[in-house]
Assembly symmetry: D2
Homo-oligomer: 351 residues x 4
């Protein structure tokens, strides 16, 4: 039985983690803490979870004493905290032999200076960032196996990197030609009450944000470089769509040779046929975000455009499923030696 | 291991049944049949279920030979077929010792003449209807235990009857004063492509339907009579809301004595505190339909209005969860001697 | 040319008023003021109005000097301010001969004590409330003609009262049997960023609120009494639906004689056939809220249930159209001697 | 007074045209015809228009005699008919001196062979296509002035071409680097009841379609060539979003020199500052589709990414407003010598 706790529990990632963990036979929630919501009951924060009495917990504070207590009977600590504060908690946890899975970006960059540049915050522990394991399991599970500190990937980078991976490995993608156009549901915008995210404002509405400046850009670039050994400069452009869950990434890559759609399908199938959470579709069956709702799946299809010599990849996930909580549990299973699909091989809830 | 099959598989109830059953450790899907969709692959009908290879089945026809074959290795048959045709299939199944759970209304009425009057179809087997067990398990599970033929309740009657039950038992509800105002998500309107149910037409839209004529009216009246021994004539009024899943019932009852909200809360808690699928809230915490999304839960809260001497009960479910597939599995567990919560004690997917 | 100003401009009612007024040939916006949003540009508050340069105004403060200045060149003042503060502004305006149309409830009650009881605020000017004219023009336009102070009706009471009016006048409605079940879109919940009204929380969600306590209850009761001379005690129950605009009222009345649906249709047509903003439908064509989107229309249909001796009326409006800004302009036209439909006889925007 | 008629009236473009024309003081609807919906009342097809009695028309058939009669008292004919059938109607109309505005693509291509290749239909009148005037008025109004046959542009090409125009004119866009990623609301998918467009399927859902094959690709390419004199091969990729109205185009162009965002803003403002229907925003205020709902506006903002040397343009319209009916009326005003903004300078309906 894995005893787990979470700091930053009153987040959408937290809510989804707790929901999914109810399906996991080998875990037990020990503590929930949150800098903003402490003192609340967890079941009031997430009323849909009423009746699951193992979650009848009060959200704890994040001061030193509380964290000390929390770590004393925890095996795995999940973190969803402010940028720049991860190392504070992680240092304490690792010192006590508690493994850490971080939902944030603090530990995602081998070179913490890149992080500092895009996140505009001073990084307190460059060494820790260097040694953390960034794990999309379908690509980097071997590195994750012995990790004590997992940097759980961002939602957009997960959909994008899984979609790009087989094509990148062919070596056919021309340098600096990748454009990643994405949309996300509103759970990606968090639980803070912001005017622009009110139902009234977002229903029947669509908008871009973070043009040329979104922080997931360097994360995707790092992944491409890790896979290919070549530094690509990309455009990554997110948008907000009127839906609660789901990411759709449309990825454009110029390639240096011709493909057929069948060839692409075979290439992707060959890569992912044994992956339980990746479902490759032919170009004739483009994935719908709804096919992955509330699940850990990533669905994709690749198409070649002979007119422009570009491959167009559509890759979809649930942003708080495979894009956050699902992948975090997948990583937990890996580092704790449990079957990788345990608790998360659940069907999507469409419609 | 319970071997189950479904006729009428290409329905919203079917899709949800298959989704939920993936969480059930003691069942195996043997056959899927459908009068309209035969010849299609089940995974093309419900693409979100791709990857669950036990469902890689072709939808079969519903002619005699196909049904014969289907029944030969089936323990429990689920039916979601046209009004008036249930007894055809049920007779064959029961004759072979196959238990039947019907999603339709054919077998819900002790007196099939009431059914004929509201459904405008001739009933072929009044005796079968009389002997079928109508089972909302929280109220009638004892009768269900030895049943071979279960009439699975309608979605609106489930939310309504569970909401009314504790109050009705007090004897305080004045005859003929019950008004049931309900809304449903669009999955309740089925999968047939109808102009009025297009996204374009239904988004940002709300409308009533079936005023004074909806077929769930006599079903609710029968339930009230079964519970109280008194025939109440009610108004039941459904509406369609721009959401995929969810039923919200707002029930008004004139009562013959005063209550306090605390008294009502205690009354409801006393009734349901040991029920795993019913969650009673105080009047200060009105249930949201989203708290039950994709689950088998029913959430409710009762309030007393001293000005009008009416109790107002809000009762919510997922119409294809507790309102269809979830309750059908709950009934299957009962008739097959399995733990009643097996496979369906899953948390809702909010948000 | 009517010179108008608004205090409480940064509200949904304000935004809709300004949008509609662009279609009005005989008005000119002079000042906008708001206690919360002063200092902002009006076109930043309502970016959809960019390009309409007559609205390139800075939102003014609501201190005495600002209000003084605002009143100096204003003919009609619209108010959307906090409960209890209306008389402060209205006194100043009326003293200067500026006519006032108030969106709030302060002036809606002939007996301000009823207001105090439901709104839990002390009323500063009972006499003003007594003399204000509450005007749903289709019923009370004659009284409005010479008014200096209009209490613009609430959204729910507008849909409900128009729906009840022809039936009430028959004298057939049994005392204390009226139940009004309503739903509203989220614009009714205002522009304040509240967690429960985030897109993430409200999409695919439905919930009741204010059970037995909603402040529109006594307003509807006052209207019924004004029309019939009899005090009815009613239940009024609102709900929030996942849509931006629209109110659907489902009204149940026990009647003391039988009707046919045709008789009801004729009754309603007879009442409203010359009303430009009321559209009566037969029972076979129930109104959709979308048929009234962004307009000043009220659509309705009445049905008789011979089993229960109840008439069920479905009445729909746009809550910020006929339910707020549209009706306010209609009232302005009346008090300023302009054609009543001027500027607001616009078609709904469905789909 | 311009007497107009429409063939293909029972379409979303038709509904929006009729809605907008109610605001136009110089037009009168004479006839509505539709190959599928003839015999229906127009007000039953578009129930939101009830009460506007000038529209109390029966939809006529499209046989020769009906069309003959329709043309006899029509000044301008709007067409929304099947690909390949436009010239049949247009020939008859032009022969009688009736001007034609076509919503379809038949007449959009100077070279009808390009049309044949992408639309897979034989074109019956290449000469007519060559001579028709393709008119986005902000770019080609001078050509439109004397036209008898207007090819009204496609929705995606309108948003895209307006967004590209100022940048293309600088000559800075590198050949074959343009990628146009777009999303549309569901009104763009028409009124036919298709399973995939049901509310249940589309809510909370997002999907791409027509990868590398969408028919608006050559239309955009033709526009770019007309503007620049250079043939660019582009990627145009549409998606369907869960919203009824709105197009968002995100356009990526590699440029051969550096820009600043201020420079881009000035460039766009210089182009469009006198255009009543184009609203240019700075890069810090990205347009929302909702800002253009139910209007003839196009809102845009351009941003430069110095890392990738790409300009990213966000351009939004209402797909059935500026993308169809609004622009058609704008073109009608031009060819009939009326003020270009007449009837369509209406504010958007947000929220």
């Amino acid at each position: 039985m894995v005893r787990y706790s979470m700091i930053g529990a009153a987040s959408n990632a937290g809510g989804e983690l707790f929901r999914m963990m109810l399906n996991h036979p080998e875990t037990k929630l020990m503590h929930v803490a949150d800098g903003f919501a402490h003192g609340q009951r967890l079941l009031d924060t997430f009323p849909a979870l009423n009746g699951f009495n193992e979650y009848d917990l009060v959200i704890e504070d994040v001061d030193d004493a509380s964290v000390e207590k929390l770590l004393s009977d925890t095996d795995v600590l999940f973190l969803a905290v402010d940028a720049g504060t991860v190392s504070d908690y992680a240092e304490k946890a690792l010192a006590k032999g508690v493994k850490v899975i971080d939902f944030g970006a603090d530990m995602r960059f081998r070179d913490a200076k890149v992080w500092e540049e895009w996140y505009k915050v001073k990084h307190k522990n460059h060494e820790m960032s260097k040694n953390a394991v960034y794990s999309i399991p379908e690509i980097w599970r071997d590195k994750a196996k012995n990790a004590n500190l997992i940097a759980n990937p961002g939602c957009y980078p997960t959909a994008t990197t899984l979609g790009l991976y087989p094509l990148l490995k062919t070596g056919a993608v021309v340098k600096d030609t990748i454009i990643v156009n994405t949309i996300s549901g509103t759970t990606g915008a968090g639980r803070r009450p912001v005017f622009q995210n009110l139902y009234t404002e977002m229903e029947n509405n669509f908008r871009a944000y973070g043009v040329a400046t979104h922080r997931h850009t360097p994360e995707i670039e790092q992944n491409i470089e890790t896979i290919t050994g070549v530094k690509h400069i990309i455009n990554f452009q997110p948008h907000l769509a009127p839906m609660a869950r789901g990411i759709h990434a449309t990825i454009y890559c110029t390639v240096n040779r011709d493909f057929t759609n069948e060839e692409l399908y075979d290439l992707y199938q060959a890569q992912y046929k044994d992956e339980p959470f990746v479902r490759v579709h032919p170009a004739s069956q483009l994935p719908n975000t709804k096919w992955t709702a509330a699940s850990n799946f990533c669905d994709m299809a690749a198409t070649y455009d002979p007119r422009t010599h570009r491959v167009i990849i559509c890759s979809v996930i649930d942003n708080i499923g495979k894009g956050a909580a699902g992948q975090a549990i997948q990583n937990m299973n890996i580092i704790m030696g449990l079957p990788e699909t345990m608790g998360i091989y659940m069907p999507p809830t469409a419609p």
